[in-house]
């Protein structure tokens, strides 16, 4: 019976549907982390076992200490391809491995009060405005059909190769979409709910 089903999955590169999703993890993070405010949406389209993916997001962060206030905000996008290794699943459930190229623009401000023994006390602001960042990601995760058009899934991201441009006296601290910059590589996670809009009856 299973063999018969597998045989019905034909190799066609014509897309069968577009999935549009929302990152629930970012939503939970908004509630759990007072310093974070962000959202992310995801979309993909299938070409046989290959999925062209596009993510768009925005985040803002704020940190405050006795002597400093730091804030940033920015937008980012990712584009890439996921390869589904459950290629004979008739429901098109996915266990995938993929890659992304990501880019974004962001602004940062840090206000700092210094009390120097020789030069006195002063409050200064350091700013990066309209700075740009690019990086790469390796991804893996699942997409599971729950009911009719409703899907859920998660993506684990290994981010690397961060490159920032257009920064001034302030070293970038936190790049929207990438995270903190003190390490050259970092991890990311999305838990997504998706709606699949069929564009044709895929078998």
């Amino acid at each position: 019976m299973l063999a018969q089903k597998q045989d019905t999955v034909t190799r066609s590169f014509i897309p069968t549907g577009v999935r549009i999703g929302y990152d629930v993890y970012a939503g939970i993070r908004n509630l759990a982390d007072n310093s974070f405010n962000g959202l992310e949406v995801n979309a993909d389209i299938d070409f046989y076992r290959y999925y062209l993916t596009l993510d768009a997001g925005r985040w803002e962060r704020e940190f405050e200490t006795e002597e400093e206030q730091y804030s940033n905000s920015g937008n980012y996008m990712r584009a890439g391809v996921d390869v589904n290794f459950l290629k004979k699943d008739p429901e098109k459930n996915m266990y995938f491995i993929g890659a992304r190229y990501a880019w974004g623009t962001f602004s940062e401000t840090m206000t700092r009060t210094t009390d120097d023994a020789v030069w006195g006390a002063r409050t200064e602001s350091f700013t990066n405005t309209d700075s740009r960042a690019t990086w790469f990601e390796l991804t893996t995760g699942l997409r599971v059909k729950m009911y009719k058009f409703f899907w859920i899934g998660y993506t684990i991201r290994y981010k690397f190769g961060l490159n920032t441009r257009g920064t001034g006296e302030l070293e970038p601290h936190d790049v929207p979409g990438f995270g903190k910059t003190f390490k050259s590589t970092t991890w990311g996670f999305n838990y997504v709910v998706l709606i699949r809009l069929p564009v044709r009856n895929g078998k």
């Binding site: 939970i28 020789v118 030069w119 006296e169 302030l170 903190k180 003190f182 390490k183 996670f189």
Partner: protein, 153 residues
């Protein structure tokens, strides 16, 4: 599936909380100047009244303007202006005075909420000087306080 997702989520939240940078602050405003003898390159004994920095209220060394200070081979340590990208120092010797104008690049970084921030000074350069022979040996100011500039007399 649901339990696994919640477990993965919890692990990632915990890991992200632990993911903080080391609280190491190495930036310093101290500019270290070593006077050397031109004839043999050995550290020179410096006899001087004081060093003043333009724009600073306090002076370096010689708190009594009429009393000479002596440094026997040890370097002069002065503080650059942390709010500017250059500082002009004037060295007052018994019979003359000499100016040294240095420029540098400021770089601020926010380390973490627990650790705060720091402003570091690098790319040190000599803008102008009245000394005859000045050599830049270390362009970064740091808490290790290694010699930044050598002045040969």
């Amino acid at each position: 599936m649901g339990r696994l997702a919640v477990f993965v989520l919890c692990v990632l939240v915990v890991v992200s909380c632990l993911d903080e940078p080391d609280c190491v602050k190495d930036a310093d405003t101290a500019l270290v100047i070593q006077f050397k003898r031109l004839i043999d390159g050995k550290n020179d004994t410096l006899i001087f009244y004081r060093v003043e920095a333009q724009g600073a209220d306090s002076i370096f060394y010689g708190q009594n303007p009429d009393v000479l200070d002596t440094l026997r081979g040890t370097p002069v340590v002065v503080s650059v202006n942390p709010y500017a990208t250059s500082t002009e120092f004037t060295f007052y010797f018994p019979v003359l005075e000499r100016k040294l104008d240095v420029g540098y690049t400021r770089s601020a970084r926010f380390i973490s909420e627990e650790c705060g921030s720091e402003v570091s000074f690098s790319r040190l350069r000599i803008i102008q000087t009245e000394f005859d022979s000045v050599r830049l040996v270390n362009p970064t100011l740091s808490k290790s306080r290694t010699v930044n500039i050598e002045i040969y007399r």
